[in-house]
Structures are given as C-alpha cells and as structure tokens.
Amino acid sequence: MTTSTTTRAVAVPRPAAKGRRRRLSRKHREWVAAGLFLAPDAIGLLIFVALPMVLSILLSFYQVSGFGSYTWVGLGNYERMMHDPLFWDSMRITGIYVLVLVPVLFCVSLGLGLLIKQRLPGLAAYRTALFLPYVISLVVVGQLWKFMLDDQTGLVNRTLRAAGFEGRSWLGDPDLALGSVIAVTVWVMMGYYMIIFLAGLQDIPKEYYEAARIDGAGPWTSFRRITWPLLRPTSFFVLLMSTVAALTGGLDLVFVLTNGGPANGTSLAIFYIYQQAFGFGEFGYAAAMGSFLVLIMVAFSALIFALTRGGRFDHDD
C-alpha cells in the first residue's frame, strides 16, 4: 500500500483544480462501469434462469401433453392444484420436512462449529471428517444410506440387534421414512454449514471471551451475551440458505432412498412436481405447482427480510 499512499499524496491537488466537471462525469462513468461489470452475469441469469422461469409460468396456463401439443386452459391447472389432495398432502410433508430439517441442521452445525472452535488437538482432522459427506454426490449418498438402513443387513439394524433392540424399517415404515430422509440430509449438510459457522465464530474477537471470563461469566453466559448476538449475520445466512435448499431440494435423496414412498410418506412437493412432469408428462400442471412453490418462497424470503431488516447484510457504507 505504500506506493499508492504516496501517489495519493501527490495527486491530492488535482481534483481541486477540475473538481466540478470531473465529479459529474465520474458519476456517469461509475454507472457505465457498473453496467459492464454486471452484464455477463445479468445476461446469463436472464437467459438461463429468468427466461426459463417466465416460460414455465406461461406453461402453467397450458395443458401440455408432453409431446409438443399445448392447449390453453387459463387458470385450469391452478384450479386443479387447489383441489388435488395429493398436492396438498405433499405440501404438508414439505412443511414438516422444512420445519424439522432447518432447526435440526442449524443446531447440529452450530454445535459442531462451537465444538471444533475449541482448540482441540487434531482440529484439521475433525474438520475434514465432518465435511467429508458433503464431498460425495447425493445420488451416491442416497445409495450408501440405503445400505446402512437396510432392514435385514443394514448396519443400523445390526447394531440395534446386537444391543438387544429390535430392528426397524427405517425407509419402509411411513412413520420413520421422512425422519430417515431428514437425518441423512443433516448428515450430508452439517459439515458445510459447520464450516460457515466456524468462520463466523472465529471472527469474534477473543478478547471478549477473555473479558467475560475474567468477569466470571460461565460458558452459557458467554454464548448468550457474546457468541449469539455477534453470530447473528451468519445465523441469518444459514437459516435463509438452508430453508431455500430445503424447500427446493431433497429431490435427489428422496429419489434414491424411497422414490416418494412408502405410501407417499416422503413425497415432498418438489417430488410430486417431478413425478407429474417427468413421470406423467403433465408439464403444464407441474409448471403451475412449481410456480406456486416459487411464489411461496418469494413470500417467505420477503418475510424474513422484513423481520430481520435485511438480515443486517444490507448495512450501508
């Protein structure tokens, strides 16, 4: 920085000389620069994300055969959606999935972050170990857990039986299957969010804890008074990201683990949409349900933004 500091010192008189004219043009130059900087991503997002979304909304007003024939049905698909018990059932399952997954994932990854933050010997090993599941593709993860949760030979049931308990059908019992899917999701994602929490935690100045300790604050008080408030931006980020991921994700895992079963017990809305579109060729109907889901997410994000005043990631400089 030394070089630029010296040049700055030399350059100081210059703006004073041509002040007014330059400032105006500089403002416009900044606009143009901003446009150019934004252009590649903006165009890309427009073509590959926004345009398909618009097409998808258009599609939701058509009855689509899946073979290239389109019939305008107006709001017909939305009407069908309102009266489709399977759709609302899948929304209910999605609701449970999100309401259980997001808090559990949050607590587990925060807990792991706090744990790893203690300067335990072998820190890098734990960190790598906990991130490991995230490295593997979801299709393989699903397959892996299918073996682990197998009724007869799965490791979970074998362990239970060895300990004198009865094995359960983790993926074949409608009361358990959704829980199993959630558990596997937590297993995959916990390392990822742990890393994010860890980063946030390490940014909190140690002096605060030191001061608190001298003042006699216990670990719980330290957490409540220092960690929690200072971690708020990270928490917000994790909460928002994991909720969006939960609402729109889960398809790969459900696909491999249960195929929506047993008895539609893991038929998340996104799975039902997939099934209607790609299984039954009902692309128009699927587009209507998909658009509805996107709408819910927009509303949800707006709510979160409003409640947290932008999650404090809009602090102006």
Binding site: M53, P121, L138
Partner: protein, 295 residues
C-alpha cells in the same frame, strides 16, 4: 467490520464474583476430555458411512450388501473393471474440464457483478441485487424443460458448451462475494480512483487480489457442485463422449439388479479428488468466510 456497533460484552456479567472463574480456569483443561470425545464421536458418525463405501468397494458382488465394514473376500477387481471396461478416465476428465471451466468463469463473472453491487453507486442498485438474489428461489425441476428448450434453441445440446454455460450462472456466489466486498474499507478504492484508476483497474488490481481467500472457498464449493452434477448433464447430452462422472456411476445400475460393488468403486474414485481438493483448501475456506460479510 470492526467499525460495526458491537454489544459490549461482560457488562452484564460483571456482577458475578470472581472466585468461580478461577475454579473454572482449571476446569477447562479437564473439560477438554469430554469435548474431545464428543468431537471424535461426531467425526465417526460423519466418516463411518464413507469409510464403509470405500471398504465395500473392495467387496465382491455377493458380499457388497452384507453390511460389514471389513470385506470378507477382498478384491481389487472392481477398480480394475471401472477403469478397464468403462472409459472412466474419460468421464473423470470430462467432469474435471467442465467443473474447472465453470468454476473459473463463474468466479470472474460473479466477482465482477458482486463488485458492482457492493462498491459502485448507480441507480437501481438495490433492485438489481434483489432481482439477482430472487433467482436463488427458482427451482431446477420446474424450469428444466424450458431450460432444455432454451439450450436447444441456442444449439447448446450435446456439447461441452451446453454443459458449461448454463451452469455458470448462479446467484449464490454473487451473494456471498457481495457480502465480502461490503466489508472493504471505502478508502481503499477511493484512493485508487483519485489516482485516476478506472473501475476495471480498481477491480483487477485491488479488489480481486484481496478476494483471494473467499475465491478459494468458492472454488471448492463450485467445483464440488459441478463435479456432482447429475440431472442437467443427463438431460443435455446423448453423446457418450460427453459422459460426466456421475452419469458414469449411474450406468453401473443394470436393468435387473445393480452391481453395487462397481457403483461403490466408481463412487470412491469420484470422491477422492474432491476430498483432496477440500483437504488442500480447508484452511483458506475457513479463513475466507471468516473475513466475509456473513461472519
């Protein structure tokens, strides 16, 4: 970030007498043991299924689903098969090439966009940010068919370009980088602008070098996401020369029963480079997110 108003800690806790603190000081050393045990247990839960995948890749077809950790019949055949009977090296190369190009281009584009959104002043900036952010909410299965139509219209099907270009654009990276750039001190670039530097030079010479830590974190995340991509490559290609590694793994599932031993061997081979990538970058990842705005 240090300029942010932070609650002054300790003010409330000052009422507590000093003596317990001293006792706790000695307790921390002893308190470590349970924490270490906890960390070990958590790591084991995390690692165990992966370890099982690796050891099972050395099992025969008969024993692959027996649920045991240690193979009773140990064989290398699965790996030999994966590389000799199937062009798995080609699949690995395809995935590597595609993921690398996507990652590099995406990092450039996203950091440019994020720089504009965080540091430049222009009308409609917040709207632009909200619009970009809102694309995070668009779900893949809903837009898959329209995306396919768009890609076909642009002659992107069955080509590397078709696997690469649509995968570049993702608001997640823009969002993260923007948060990072918001925490930069204003003085830094103002000095450069005073010097008559253009915005591009500020970006290229000052902002980009300073983003190294977060870019390395995003490198891992982007690379991983694209290495593990499945649905889009499946839909967008039919040419066997363009097969990516995840499609390669799935092709071991036959019509009537699957050769899980091959699937697991292939999955192990596919996971190893990513593990190495993470291991190499893990320190930077934590460091980087730490200095970003989401801390």
């Amino acid at each position: 970030m240090t300029t942010e108003a932070t609650p002054t800690p300790g003010t409330g806790a000052r009422r507590t007498p000093l003596s317990p603190a001293r006792r706790r000081g000695s307790a921390t050393a002893r308190g470590r043991l349970p924490l270490t045990v906890l960390a070990i247990i958590a790591s084991l839960i995390s690692v165990f299924p992966v370890l099982w995948m690796v050891t099972s890749a050395f099992k025969t077809r008969d024993t692959v689903t027996d649920g045991r950790l240690i193979p009773q019949k140990f064989t290398f055949d699965n790996f030999v098969y994966v590389f000799s009977e199937v062009p798995f090296a080609r699949y690995l190369w395809n995935s590597f090439f595609i993921s690398a190009v996507i990652t590099i281009v995406a990092l450039l584009f996203h950091s440019m966009a994020a720089y504009a959104l965080a540091r430049l002043r222009f009308p409609g900036r917040e709207t632009a940010f909200m619009l970009i952010f809102s694309t995070l909410l668009i779900t893949a299965p809903v837009v898959l068919i329209p995306l396919f139509l768009v890609a076909r219209q642009l002659h992107l099907l069955d080509s590397y370009a078709g696997l690469i270009i649509p995968a570049i654009f993702n608001a997640f990276g823009i969002f993260l980088l923007r948060q990072f750039y918001l925490s930069f001190p204003r003085a830094l670039e103002e000095a450069a602008i005073m010097d008559g530097c253009g915005h591009w030079r500020v970006y290229w010479n000052i902002v980009l070098p300073m983003s190294r830590p977060i870019l390395s974190a995003l490198t891992v995340f982007f690379f991983l996401a694209n290495w593990n991509a499945f649905v889009w490559p499946l839909v967008a290609t039919t040419d066997p020369d363009l097969t990516v590694v995840q499609l390669g793994i799935s092709s071991f599932q036959q019509q009537y029963g699957s050769n899980w031993n091959y699937v697991l061997a292939a999955a192990t081979v596919a996971a190893l480079p990513m593990l190495a990538l993470f291991f190499a970058f893990q320190r930077q990842i934590v460091e980087s997110i730490k200095t970003s705005g989401i801390k």
